[in-house]
């Protein structure tokens, strides 16, 4: 490049480095740099820190062991019944919230799909729980579940043969009670997806099915469900991720109790760090949670790419 040519393009850097930064992948990287820097700082750095912590020995009970790096936390994890119990409870919690949210959201979407009068109002009613922060949800449900003055037991007083109980203190009911609160809080996410999905199914398909002598259930089974299958797959995985990561509702309502009956992996991680003050082992549990989430995210990406390549879309 001659001096004259260079003068024609003001602002370009000279030499090979200049070309790298103004053309091709180098240029893309340059443009992404601010975002990458921020993300690296707020996500990458803590992750690296947590990973290092999981190999270290930072625990209040063994101050002298700090700086001893090794695999000991992971070895301990493999044979820790509390940790695997927590994974199991997390899985139960996740499956419960997914099943409950899908069922509730699909019912609500089917119910409000054809509403003409009070259309906006009916949809708003089902979206409202989403606007309530998880912490507030937990506090409100905590009051409702209360054994002495909770509204749920008050209502049950009027129904014969069913007696109220202290829902969050009973080992049998604590986890289902938490799942219900979480479902109430998160099902609107699925609802809005389903509503959009239902509206994208052409009426003609239902008309053809009616002519082909399909009843209401057959229309649901052979038209609605298959047409929604990719949306359902995406929602299932999204809700799994949300359910697995969920923390505030469990922590606020039971803190993992009674006697560990609701101690999910996230709550166990928190308790290990801030109650037992074993920071390194807590980081190890965190890494385990990340690995599980990673599997779910990979599943999500797979479903998304399949849906994108048109394998499931309408004609």
């Amino acid at each position: 490049m001659t001096r004259a040519q260079r003068r024609k393009r003001p602002g370009t850097l000279p030499g090979r480095f200049g070309r790298l930064m103004t053309e091709g992948p180098g240029f893309a990287l340059l443009m992404l740099a601010p975002a990458l820097l921020v993300l690296g700082f707020v996500i990458g750095l803590p992750m690296v820190k947590a990973l290092m912590l999981s190999f270290d020995t930072i625990a209040l009970r063994r101050p002298a062991a700090a700086g001893t790096y090794g695999l000991h936390n992971y070895v301990r994890l493999l044979s820790d019944p509390d940790a695997w119990g927590a994974v199991l409870r997390s899985a139960l919690y996740m499956l419960g919230t997914v099943a409950g949210s899908i069922a509730l959201a699909l019912s609500a979407a089917l119910l409000t799909r054809r509403v003409v009068r009070f259309r906006a109002l009916s949809r708003l009613a089902f979206l409202l729980p989403w606007t309530v922060p998880a912490v507030v949800t937990a506090l409100v449900w905590g009051v409702m579940y209360d054994g002495n003055f909770g509204v749920i037991n008050r209502l049950l007083d009027h129904i014969p043969f069913i007696t109220g109980r202290d829902w969050l203190i009973d080992r049998q009911t604590a986890l289902p009670a938490l799942i219900l609160a979480q479902v109430w809080n998160e099902f609107p996410v699925a609802y809005i997806f389903f509503l959009a999905g239902l509206h994208s199914i052409p009426d003609e398909l239902y008309e053809a099915a009616k002519i082909d002598r399909a009843g209401a259930f057959a229309q649901f089974r052979f038209i609605t469900l298959p047409q929604l299958r990719y949306i359902i797959a995406v929602i299932v995985i999204l809700l799994m991720i949300m359910g697995f990561k969920s923390f505030p509702i469990v922590y606020i309502l039971t803190g993992g109790g009674p006697a560990g009956a609701t101690e999910t992996l996230t709550v166990l991680t928190y308790n290990t760090a801030f109650r037992t003050l074993d920071f390194s082992y807590s980081a190890t549990l965190g890494i385990l949670a990340v690995l599980v989430s990673l599997v779910l995210v990979l599943g999500y990406l797979r479903v998304m790419t399949r849906a994108d390549t048109g394998k499931g879309g309408a004609v």
Binding site: P202, D212, R213
Partner: protein, 375 residues
Amino acid sequence: MADVTFKGVEKTFGNLKVIHGVDIDIADGELVVFVGPSGCGKSTLLRMLAGLEENTGGEILIGTDVVNGLPPKDRDIAMVFQNYALYPHMTVAENIGFPLRMQGLTAAERKKHVVRAAELLGLESYLERYPRELSGGQRQRVAMGRAIVREPRAFLFDEPLSNLDAALRVQMRKEVKLLHRRLEATMIFVTHDQVEAMTLADRIVVLRDGRVEQIGTPEDVYRRPASTFVAGFIGSPPINLIAGTVRPLPGKLGLVPDANPALTFDLPEEFDFSSGQHITLGVRPENLVLVSPAGKQELEGKVVFCESSGQESAVTLDLGGLQLVSSIWGEEAPLIGNMVGVEIRAGEVLLFDERGIRVDPGVAEQEHRDFTDAE
């Protein structure tokens, strides 16, 4: 198979009445085409027969059963939709077999019927494909396969060919006709395309603004249209309609067109019109003969426009403000700007009274259905 009857059928959407008391009798095994411009109510009539819309008045009968209020699945009819309405997540075989599955047939029984229907439509090699992997014509065939796989009491077609390209449309038209011949089934076909109606139908029902304008064979509606509307709607290029006033001529009556009062058209003697009556004279383009060069004829016009499709040319003539179209076959069209003589083929005129209703020879005031509805 069964006959189908519409008895005083009405339909109101909110405050808007779209079907005003329609009566149609369709015989068992007949192929009837509902035709009319968009908004005439032809699709609504079909959808009411299918049970996808409810009639707000009158009765619809399939066979001897009044089907008012019956859901579609209990009417035992099959329907082919304009956009095919194939189930996108099912293969061709599953699509065709779906009505049988709903009837509770086993997979083996279904397969037998599906294969037979596929053979009839030339779809054997596509059975495992999905609708998105098929062309428009193939999709249309699958939709037809889904209809013929069972034996419904009537087949309904809602503009099934309008999404196909011209060549394919002609081919599918033929296939529908052959299918009808083979199945000897009652078929009702809705279209806005008058050529489709003419070529397919045993009988045509011409609809206009939610009323039946005429029911008849293709020959009937073409040669003996009930009204100026039917005359204008059926036939391409469209009929020449010359509105004018009846004036006495020496020994006969003539028509002085509104568009050019200097002209006079002789009226056939067998018609009984009175002087001063406002009537319409209809001449099909093929009955308007061009004689070149102009000279001896009473009428002559200037060629202003010419559309040729090869074997046929539609020539637009200007007769001092009155525009007429002549269609000529197998000969070269005259050049634009030339003057040509015009003759009307003897006896080939249609006459309509001031209400636009066709008048037969020798009858001045006929008993016609009153088209000015009392409502």
